[in-house]
């Protein structure tokens, strides 16, 4: 690790099944992107790789390795030679892989054939930034061992991707606490644009936009939270929970982004505009 970028972490698919002990799942924020990067180098999909918000990472390889980049498209170079995303890259021993900053999207992923072999905690190598479990955030000078997780070679050498055109639309299921808000609040959420603020990380994204008005005051007794939950603190502006969200919380959740849209949500960067739509309705509007 020569340059650690802007808070790069080791991630796999996390620690499912431990929420009853207060341990969240964590893992890659864009799970599909890490899975793809792993498939491209012949790893199991849950092998540990790097999650790199806004790229900016440089790695020096002591040994030859096969790597793949996925997620937000970053320019990248092996010893100064440009290389592309979503395809296996042969990196010779002694070479440097430099990853630039993506033009759009937020989180880039790097898989290395064999997987990153940092010590597992509770069955996972993911860094849970909220709970403080798993490896520390990466720092320059750190050595990342490569394991032996590879199981074969992929059938494809390149994974094309259809880029989204137009605005980022996230479909939501109302509730569980939509009844804590005025009927107008859900219409506002699904009718008005919300902007991702700089107060965003792996725990969640604080959004800026019209206030969602409460019909009831006070707080709930703590209840279980899920990724994609739109929790509304007293400010009335929602927080969209991502991979390291708290296991329980006391602010009401007006609606939850459906699982299929969560990877796209994790690629929204500060300044991006989100459009929420009700799942299962052609116009995406309640009422």
């Amino acid at each position: 690790m020569v340059r650690a970028g802007y808070g790069a972490t080791v991630q796999d698919l996390g620690r499912p099944g431990l929420a009853a002990l207060g341990v969240g799942r964590s893992g890659a924020a864009d799970r599909g992107a890490l899975r793809l990067a792993n498939r491209l180098v012949g790893n199991p999909e849950d092998a540990a790789g790097l999650e790199m918000p806004l790229g900016g990472v440089e790695l020096a390889f002591r040994r030859a390795a096969t790597c793949a980049l996925a997620g937000a498209d970053c320019p990248a170079w092996v010893d100064g030679r440009p290389v592309g995303p979503r395809t296996p890259l042969a990196v010779p021993a002694g070479a440097r892989l430099r990853i630039g900053t993506p033009g759009r999207g937020l989180r880039a992923y790097l898989a290395v054939r064999g997987g990153l072999d940092v010590p597992a905690v509770l069955g996972s190598r993911a860094t849970d930034t909220l709970a403080g479990l798993g490896p520390q955030r990466l720092t320059a000078g750190q050595l990342l061992p490569v394991g032996t997780a590879a199981t074969g070679w992929p059938a494809a050498e390149h994974a094309p991707r259809r880029d989204r055109t137009g605005p980022l639309v996230l479909h939501v299921v109302p509730g569980p606490r939509d009844d804590w808000f005025t009927p107008a609040a859900l219409r506002t959420l699904c009718g008005e644009p919300y902007t991702v603020t700089a107060d965003s990380d792996r725990v969640g994204m604080r959004l800026d936009g019209p206030v969602l008005e409460r019909a009831r005051s006070g707080e709930l007794p703590s209840e279980g939270m899920v990724g994609g939950a739109l929790q509304v603190p007293p400010s009335g502006r929602p927080i969209l929970f991502l991979a390291d969200h708290p296991v329980t919380g006391g602010y009401p959740v007006i609606a939850v982004v459906r699982r299929a849209d969560l990877d796209a949500a994790a690629q929204a960067r500060p300044g991006d505009v989100l459009h929420f739509r009700l799942e299962g309705r052609p116009d995406g509007r309640p009422g």
Partner: protein, 218 residues
């Protein structure tokens, strides 16, 4: 939607595309609901996350849907919870030297000694975990010891701090920020990420507190 043994209604609320939040009438019904779902999980259900009044149930949308789960949950018989004394009991030896002991005594209108007596007299049960890995919310607190959280949370509460807030008592498993009122300290290790399970305080576990050095420790 009365359950088989005549207990009150539960509400089943959608929580995204692959979870439902089941809301019970009170903490005790929520604990019984969690036990019933753990013992007889409906088809397609996965992880359960018990909390103060609710149980979050994750499910596989290719195997079931929320309407089927609503039907299964409302038909679920809720047994009486086994008495706390019958379950595995974790005994926690405490040095009652916490910085908030005097304040808790003042708020409760008791002497510090009476606070300790009441805290060690209780039969507690882990209702749920949250806030931090292994942080167990214990119910069964003497109503006189129900005090509000501190107005200003501490930025650093040491691992092993024994604390009360609202209707709960608990032990900070690791050093973390925290707003509960600190009664004392235990040396009993409660969290070990290398162990399986990493905590002894799982939902349903019975807990007692004893004064450190006065016997009753196991």
């Amino acid at each position: 939607m009365a359950t088989a043994d005549g207990t009150g209604a539960v509400r089943v609320l959608r929580c995204g595309s692959d979870a439902v939040l089941i809301e019970a009438e009170d903490a005790e019904q929520a604990q019984r609901l969690h036990a019933a779902l753990r013992d007889a999980p409906p088809t397609g259900t996965g992880e359960l996350v018990p909390a103060a009044r609710t149980v979050l149930v994750r499910y596989d949308p290719s195997a079931t849907d929320w309407q089927r789960l609503r039907a299964a949950v409302t038909a679920l018989p809720l047994r009486e919870a086994p008495p706390a004394s019958a379950a595995e009991t974790v005994v926690v030896p405490v040095r009652y030297d916490g910085p908030d002991l005097a304040e808790v005594a003042r708020l409760a209108g008791l002497t510090e000694r009476q606070v300790v007596e009441r805290h060690t007299a209780g039969h507690y049960r882990v209702a749920f975990c949250g806030f931090a890995p292994g942080f167990a919310y214990l119910t069964g607190l003497d109503p006189r010891l129900r005090v509000p959280r501190r107005a200003e949370p501490r930025t650093r509460v040491p691992a092993g701090a024994v604390a009360v807030a609202d209707e709960y008592t608990g032990v900070y498993p690791r050093t973390s920020p925290g707003g509960w009122q600190l009664l004392g300290t235990t040396d009993l290790p409660l969290w070990d990420a290398a162990a399986d399970p990493p905590t002894r305080l799982r939902p349903g576990t019975a807990v007692r507190f004893v004064v450190a050095g006065q016997g009753g420790e196991s």
